[in-house]
């Protein structure tokens, strides 16, 4: 294996690398997935509180979700979920050879960014009680 004789590891100048938009969307897919994984206990706990019949759980659910920090975390998770969802659909489409061309791939990455942010705004305002 001749390539193994090259010096390793290579040190890439990350701040100088320019990625296409799809590259950033892809990194955000990973970041959003990691965030959702890390916050999974919070989400399961909220599910438990939302479904528990006892009144203390109802009060606890309100207290927790009224907390500003929790609201911000949930807003972040909302974006993470929506980005991961939209990007996932893009990946599934590319799997079946839809949007493989360079320009189409750029456009779909842009669509993922715009749609997930727009939906975050729509659902986020609901989360924050604006309507």
């Amino acid at each position: 294996m001749p390539e193994m004789t090259k010096p390793r590891p290579k040190h890439l100048a990350l701040h100088q690398i320019r990625l296409p938009l799809a590259g950033y969307a892809s990194i955000l897919h990973r970041v959003s997935g990691a965030g959702l994984f890390l916050m999974l206990p919070l989400l399961i706990w909220l599910l438990q509180l939302s479904l528990s019949p006892n009144p203390e759980s109802a009060a606890m659910f309100s207290a927790v979700t009224d907390n500003l920090l929790v609201k911000l975390i949930l807003l972040g998770l909302l974006w993470a979920f929506l980005h991961h969802f939209c990007m996932g659909i893009r990946i599934l489409l590319i799997d079946i050879h839809v949007g493989v061309e360079k320009q189409q791939a750029h456009n779909s990455a842009m669509a993922v960014m715009v749609i997930s942010l727009a939906l975050t705004l729509v659902f986020g305002l609901k989360l924050l009680g604006a309507y």
Binding site: R30, G33, A34, L36, F37, L40, P41, I44, L47, Q48, S50, L51, P53, A58, F85, G88, I89, I91, L92, D95
Partner: protein, 114 residues
Amino acid sequence: MNRLVVGAHYGLMDWLAQRVTAIVMAVYTLIIFAAALGGATASREAWHSFMANGFIRYISFLFIVSLCYHAWVGVRDIWMDYLNSAAVRVILHVLTLLALIGYAGWAVQIIWRL
């Protein structure tokens, strides 16, 4: 490329599992969203009776299992990409797996005791 691809084929299995679990979760998401539009989240009582429905409990179980399997593949890939030490990687793989199995049990009992 002249290379014989042999082995346990878990690369293909993971690729497929990641797609199947993603589709299950996406469909579930749309069902829950439609239900919310239809008033399932209007009150605690409405939410409880919606989630206690037999079919919804069934698909909620599929969602939970899909989520945990999907997260396992994804998080494992993150550890594989960035951690060079095999010892640290193994420890985090095990911790990730144990966490996800526990989350699955926790979430399933929330749904199935309704």
